[in-house]
């Protein structure tokens, strides 16, 4: 078990290292980093200082090592927009995105998982078909389209909700619904499949045979086993949420990291772009790693097999 943990940790760190290396390569390929990552009107002394710190005039391997050191310390250049430390600019926006992400995640799980269970229990009935229909529409609808439709309906026609900004909780409703519907749909689908697989297995019938009621069997046996693929899907969804956040935050003018990335790309504020890419990579690898661990913990077969 310990070796498994170590191997997984090693792979995660290696992946992060690889991401950083790719960014390094892209950075070097696209021009002189001192120009790319610093605003135009930076005083020459500061520029020289950066050059020295990043070793830009040193041979490539040394540059690489210095880059790694810089990244580890959070020195990722300065934002053009307001000449502040790029990483700091990004980190300011993280809470807003986390807020959105957390609420979306909660919605997806609270909506998707029960729907999936219901669909599995009422398999092949109208309920099942309705839930699956909702799921298909959910994950097929592009976020921008859904968002725009919601704005049209709720903000403009009905005037229930504001269409942009982030001051009150009402501002959160539509973005969360937009992002959450797709995630809920996918989760519902996978939960249903997982439940169906588990429900068909002999050990459940044995439990029934021993006199367990349906609810008990569900709780003790079916749900934990169904949790495994669901956890895997949750891991995938995190990536989807990050991607979806880009568009959704733009549509609803939500002041998160996604919107920052879009404006940084249009403004070619490359230090910020770099910071966001690295941050996202680290987050994703960590998320996958935790999901992987949870997976290993949940499934005793995996746990014991590697002993």
């Amino acid at each position: 078990m310990l070796t498994l943990l170590l191997v997984k940790t090693f792979r995660a760190l290696l992946t992060v290292l690889l991401c950083v290396t790719v960014v390094f390569v892209v950075l070097r390929l696209s021009g002189d980093p001192a120009e790319t990552l610093l605003p135009e009107n930076t005083p020459p002394a500061t520029v020289a200082e950066y050059r020295a710190r990043w070793g830009l005039d040193a041979p490539l391997p040394e540059q690489y090592l210095r880059y790694l050191a810089a990244v580890a310390q959070g020195d990722l250049g300065r934002s053009f927009a307001d000449n502040r430390d790029a990483l700091g600019v990004v980190m300011e926006r993280v809470p807003a995105t986390l807020q959105l992400g957390g609420a979306t995640f909660a919605l997806a799980v609270l909506l998707g998982v029960p729907l999936g269970i219901v669909a599995a229990l009422r398999r092949n009935t109208a309920v099942d078909r309705a839930v699956m229909g909702f799921a298909v529409f959910g994950f097929s609808t592009p976020h921008f389209f859904l968002g725009i439709l919601m704005i049209l309906l709720f903000a403009m026609q009905l005037r229930w909700l504001p269409s942009s900004g982030s001051e009150t909780w009402q501002h959160m409703v539509m973005p969360v619904l937009t992002l959450g519907t797709a995630a809920a749909g996918t989760l519902a689908r996978f939960t249903r499949t997982a439940m169906l697989e588990v429900m068909g297995q002999p050990f459940l019938r044995t439990a029934h045979g021993k006199g367990a009621t349906a609810a008990y069997a569900l709780r003790r046996h079916a749900l934990p086993n169904a949790a495994i693929p669901v956890v895997t899907v949750v891991g995938f969804q995190i990536g989807g949420l990050i991607g979806g956040a880009l568009v959704t935050e733009t549509v609803f003018a939500w002041p998160g990291v996604g919107r920052l990335l879009v404006s940084a790309v249009s403004g070619r504020d490359l230090a910020v772009v770099q910071a966001i890419v690295l941050l996202v990579a680290a987050t994703m690898v960590t998320a996958n790693y935790l999901v992987d661990l949870a997976y290993g913990l949940l499934d005793p077969r995996i746990r014991d097999a590697r002993r």
């Binding site: 070796t3 191997v7 590697r306 002993r307």
Partner: protein, 326 residues
């Protein structure tokens, strides 16, 4: 003495097995150990053994598709072409070919059989292009597959027909040596007879040399000039056909032959029983590998592996107790 077409000397082949846990040592499976065998021009040599004896593995090494872990194989006086050297392998392929047991697997499921035979001509650039399909058809006719079947797919013809296609494909470039790995084992007995007859005819017509690998002693007897018997990765006995079948000298060979039903119930044959089960190639016994099952084993057999001795002309045996036939 004429130069042998194929000369294998002290060939060994081992496989590293997958680790069961990340820190365990990887175990070695010794499929073939110290096998020396040669095939002369136009000669058919049989290689017999149970499953797990390593005969198929040796066949693949001899045909050059598996590198030897130890020892050497020479074909027409030169070492076998390395796997990565495409040009050398192509040249070698026109002289040394392999016929497989799994005919359905050996043929591309998506191509008609005519095209698959023709492709060999494309690979070796033999004959002008417009003629090739015709030549392929002729090659198939030679093995008894009519032109009507040229457009059929492998799964649309019978096992016996597939085996003929595989043979035709192997022979169309005109090789001098054919390694046949259990070519008839997957076929019905009646079909076996037909394919065996075909192989014999082709041998005669083309002067083809052949390494015939099989577990079936009766088939081997029909086709081969010399026979070698393998047990657990080593050759225990090698002799001209008549000599082996009439006077087998190794206890294992004797047991194998005793198990083969013969036509004449009145013939008396020595009763030789094989004891126990075939051990695993992962952990071969010390000394003579056969000693745990040998009805005549003595303490020396457990301690010392017997060296091959020539006890009669061309008849080589690896056994401490074997004596020349009187």
């Amino acid at each position: 003495m004429a130069d042998h077409l194929l000369e294998a000397e002290a060939v060994g082949r081992s496989f590293l097995l997958r680790r069961r846990t990340p820190f365990a040592r990887r175990r070695l499976l010794h499929a073939v150990t110290g096998v020396s065998l040669s095939v002369g021009v136009g000669e058919t040599v049989g290689l017999v053994g149970e499953s797990g004896s390593g005969k198929s593995t040796f066949g693949r090494v001899a045909a050059g598709i598996l590198p030897a872990s130890a020892g050497s194989v020479r074909f027409a006086g030169a070492p076998l072409a390395p796997l990565r050297d495409t040009a050398a392998r192509r040249r070698q392929a026109s002289r040394l070919q392999l016929v497989f047991q799994d005919t359905l697997g050996a043929l591309n499921p998506r191509l008609p059989i005519g095209r698959q035979v023709r492709e060999v001509l494309d690979i070796h650039n033999l004959h002008p292009r417009p003629e090739r399909m015709d030549r392929a058809a002729a090659a198939l006719e030679e093995v008894g597959i009519g032109r009507a079947l040229l457009a059929r797919y492998p799964h649309e013809i019978s096992g016996g027909q597939r085996q003929r296609v595989v043979i035709a494909r192997a022979l169309i470039a005109g090789p001098e040596l054919l390694v046949c790995d259990e070519p008839v084992s997957a076929l019905d007995v009646s079909v076996q007879a037909q394919v065996v007859a075909l192989l014999q005819a082709l041998r005669r017509e083309r002067g083809l040399a052949c390494l015939f690998i099989s577990h079936d002693l009766r088939v081997v007897r029909q086709v081969c000039d010399r026979v070698a018997v393998m047990y657990l990765g080593t050759i225990v006995e090698q002799a001209p056909r008549a000599s082996l079948y009439a006077t087998p000298l190794h206890p294992y060979t004797q047991a194998l032959l005793a198990a083969v039903p013969v036509d004449d119930p009145r013939l008396r044959r020595p009763r030789t029983l094989l004891m126990g089960e075939p051990p695993s190639p992962l952990d071969p016994p010390d000394g003579c590998r056969f000693h745990p099952r040998c009805p005549r084993a003595v303490p020396r057999c457990a301690a010392e592996a017997p060296a091959p001795r020539e006890l009669a002309p061309g008849h080589v045996v690896a056994c401490h107790l074997a004596a020349a036939p009187c």
